[in-house]
């Protein structure tokens, strides 16, 4: 409710994502044990943690790729998921969910480009079918975005003709084509060969410099350290520690954070 009054006062809501006490179980297994996170406009939040810590699942809950078992998700002042007193979780209609989630873009580990469409076709698909943008305008915008990610010369290529790094940059441009207020990144460099991660991270740095709000699940510690405004360490389905990167990497408070970061910090020294 707080977010509603804020919206009234400032016009655009400052809080893009307000997730509280998110719980998620797959059958018996509880993957998220009450995760709360608020992301405000302009923030770059990095979520780090060991495999199986639930960080990807948490990200996927935020845009309803997974439904939560309990908790509340508010996107820019609009209720995506809520839990009643009896503990039952509710979502609005499919269409409303889609409209709420449309403000969030997402970039996947496996790119999920449409193989039967050219690069340009991938970028204009949603503007044409979802936003009903005129074709010429959609193409013009797509070309601007391709220039931005440095792939103007690949507009007419099919995804199969691109390297992994190029595919991921197309995926980022495709997400940007819908002009989202935030982009969720689900381990965007984990499927890439080491020599290809750099170009994707560079693109993401440029977006951060333009104050695009980003929530990034990543294994790239140096990216989290240098680009994020806030770093969150998750382990075993909960947030263990969070703070500005200098604090989290410089002086981690929790033993679990220290243990996780020790490998990375050792390699650095």
């Amino acid at each position: 409710m707080r977010s509603m009054s804020e919206q009234a006062m400032h016009g655009l809501p400052q809080n893009i994502i307000e997730a509280s006490d998110i719980q998620k179980s797959f059958k018996e297994l509880q993957v998220l044990k009450g995760v709360s996170l608020t992301v405000t406009r302009g923030e770059v939040v990095a979520i780090i943690g060991p495999s199986g810590s639930g960080k990807s699942t948490f990200l996927r809950c935020l845009n309803r790729l997974e439904t939560i078992t309990r908790g509340q998700i508010v996107i820019e002042g609009e209720m995506l998921a809520s839990t009643d007193a009896a503990g039952h979780c509710h979502y609005p209609s499919e269409k409303t969910c889609r409209q709420i989630c449309a403000r969030m873009g997402m970039v996947f580990q496996q790119f999920n480009l449409f193989p039967h469409r050219t690069v340009l076709g991938n970028l204009i698909e949603a503007p044409l079918t979802v936003s009903k943008m005129p074709r010429a305008a959609a193409i013009e915008r797509a070309r601007q975005l391709l220039a931005k990610v440095g792939l103007s010369d690949k507009a007419d290529n099919y995804p199969s003709q691109l390297s992994g790094g190029q595919k991921q940059r197309v995926a980022i441009a495709r997400a940007l084509a819908m002009a989202p207020d935030i982009i969720l990144f689900d381990e965007p460099t984990s499927a890439l060969d080491p020599e290809l991660t750099g170009e994707v991270l560079l693109t993401m740095r440029e977006l951060a410099a333009e104050h695009l709000t980003m929530l990034v699940v990543t294994h790239e510690m140096s990216f989290a350290r240098e680009v994020a405004s806030r770093v969150i360490f998750m382990d075993q389905g909960e947030i263990v520690e969070q703070g500005p990167p200098e604090a989290l990497f410089g002086a981690p408070q929790q033993p679990r954070t220290r243990a996780f970061l020790s490998n990375y910090l050792k390699a650095l020294n």
Binding site: R98, F108, N112, F114, H116, T129, V130
Partner: protein, 216 residues
């Protein structure tokens, strides 16, 4: 040689009937099959179950039996019974039967598409129908071309069973001449007709596969 040419002209009307049954069946059974595939994948269990039963019935009984049923038994069924002529009966039986086979091909094709494609479309705000029409089905078509080509070629030859309704299609018209002239040569002409039709289909599907090979 002149004899073969004479036979050719005498068989031609039968070949035309075969071609008609073939084309109309395709035009009806492919969309019907696609609809069945989507229904089978529906979240509504009752719809999915009913479609499964339909597919089981159609694939589980001989096409000849279905043909005879529609022509001879359907008129006697209370309320829904209608009397169809031989031509309509044949078209109906073939369309219903082939739709079941196409449905299974399409279902397998749809299910072979990576889940990431649905998610990629979903996070862009696309609805399920939009995702199906623009993302999933176009990719499905490419994957099902080989089995659809198989099924289509089988259909060319299956059309000959309409002889049980004494319809004079290609093979039956050849056999009539065989009996009249006491020579098996007309069968060779009939075989040539079938082979030409299959060859054209083979070329058509080869061209389609090449066209869809632009990506991947």
């Amino acid at each position: 040689m002149q004899y073969y040419l004479d036979v050719f002209w005498q068989i031609l009307p039968g070949a035309w009937l075969t071609l008609q049954i073939f084309l109309i069946t395709l035009v009806l059974s492919i969309p019907l099959g696609l609809a069945c595939a989507l229904l089978r994948l529906s979240r509504w269990q009752a719809l999915a179950g009913a479609t499964s039963t339909y597919i089981w019935l159609m694939r589980g009984t001989p096409l000849i039996l279905q043909l005879l049923f529609i022509y001879y038994a359907l008129p006697n069924i209370p309320y829904i019974g209608v009397r169809l002529d031989d031509y309509s009966s044949a078209i109906l039986a073939f369309a219903l039967n082939y739709a079941a086979y196409f449905a299974e091909i399409f279902r397998a094709g749809i299910q072979s598409i990576d889940r990431g494609q649905y998610e990629g479309a979903r996070v862009l705000g696309m609805s399920y129908p939009q995702t199906m029409r623009r993302i999933i089905l176009p990719q499905m078509i490419k994957r099902v071309l080989p089995p659809v080509s198989n099924e289509t070629i089988t259909l060319v030859k299956d059309t000959s069973i309409v002889y049980v309704l004494t319809m004079t299609e290609l093979l039956r018209s050849a056999r009539i001449i065989v009996q009249r002239d006491s020579t098996t040569s007309p069968f060779i002409v009939a075989a040539a007709f079938y082979l030409v039709m299959t060859l054209l289909l083979t070329w058509l599907f080869r061209w389609l596969e090449k066209r869809y090979a632009v990506y991947e």
